[in-house]
Amino acid sequence: MSMDAVLFWFLSIVVIGAGLSVVLMSNPIYSALSLVMTMVGVAALFATLNAYFLAGVQLIVYTGAVMVLFVMVLMLFDLKRELQAFSRGKITGFFKIAGVGVLAGLLVGVITFTTQKTSLIAEGSPLAADIAAQAASGADNTKILSENLFLKNILGFELLGVLLLVIAIGVVALSRSKGGTHARD
């Protein structure tokens, strides 16, 4: 087993285990902390895929900002163990779990049975050699990413900036409102 394989299996166990505990823990604080662990695992997976910059951004944005918000809100609400953590109804619950299971089976089956190759690029093509070279060197592709982001997708990038501004204003307005038509006091 190469180092890559060991790392992948370890990280996938961490990610799947933490992901399961997000769903199964009845205390929402534990769910949130498990989700933080999932995020860290996903960041490490990005690093195994040579996307180092994205791994760093994942750490800063998700674990450093988004999940802190979740945890802070949960702690302010001070929800202890919930009585009705899961939805009621045995039959509907069975159908939900069965549906999810079938979906998982279908997805995994489709992936494993259709693309038996490790790459979508044909074996003998020059690109395949490039990929092998890049995978071997573990080179950083931050520069390529930035060129793509700021030269080809600059419009989307700017629009995201506008969106974030709108969201920031909207969130401040929403959290300062006194409850709208349902206001009690």
């Binding site: 769903v23 996307a51 929800l79 979508l120 990413l145 995201l160």
Partner: protein, 108 residues
Amino acid sequence: MLETSMFSEIGLNHYLVLSALLFTIGMAGILLRRNLIVVLMSIELMLNAVNISFVAFSKYNMNSEGQVMVFFVMTIAAAEAAVGLAIIVSIFKRFKEVNIRFFEHLKG
């Protein structure tokens, strides 16, 4: 099916299967949980699963578009979490509860 190379050689398929499993876990969370915040967290889980497959495709196809897309998804996810949490906080202020069954008050 179970040859040793499946465990020792990591390819695109491995990452895709991992992503699919994580996605279905997130979906199960959305269907089964009643706490609004946990539902939001499950959505984040699904988005992360999608990000893994984007980055995996980007690596194995030598195309950085996938990573740019991950960038966009992360931004949208952060925005979505902010708005979602703001709405949840106002629901909590009103009902003192974040259980999804209180959403029936939204009817007419």
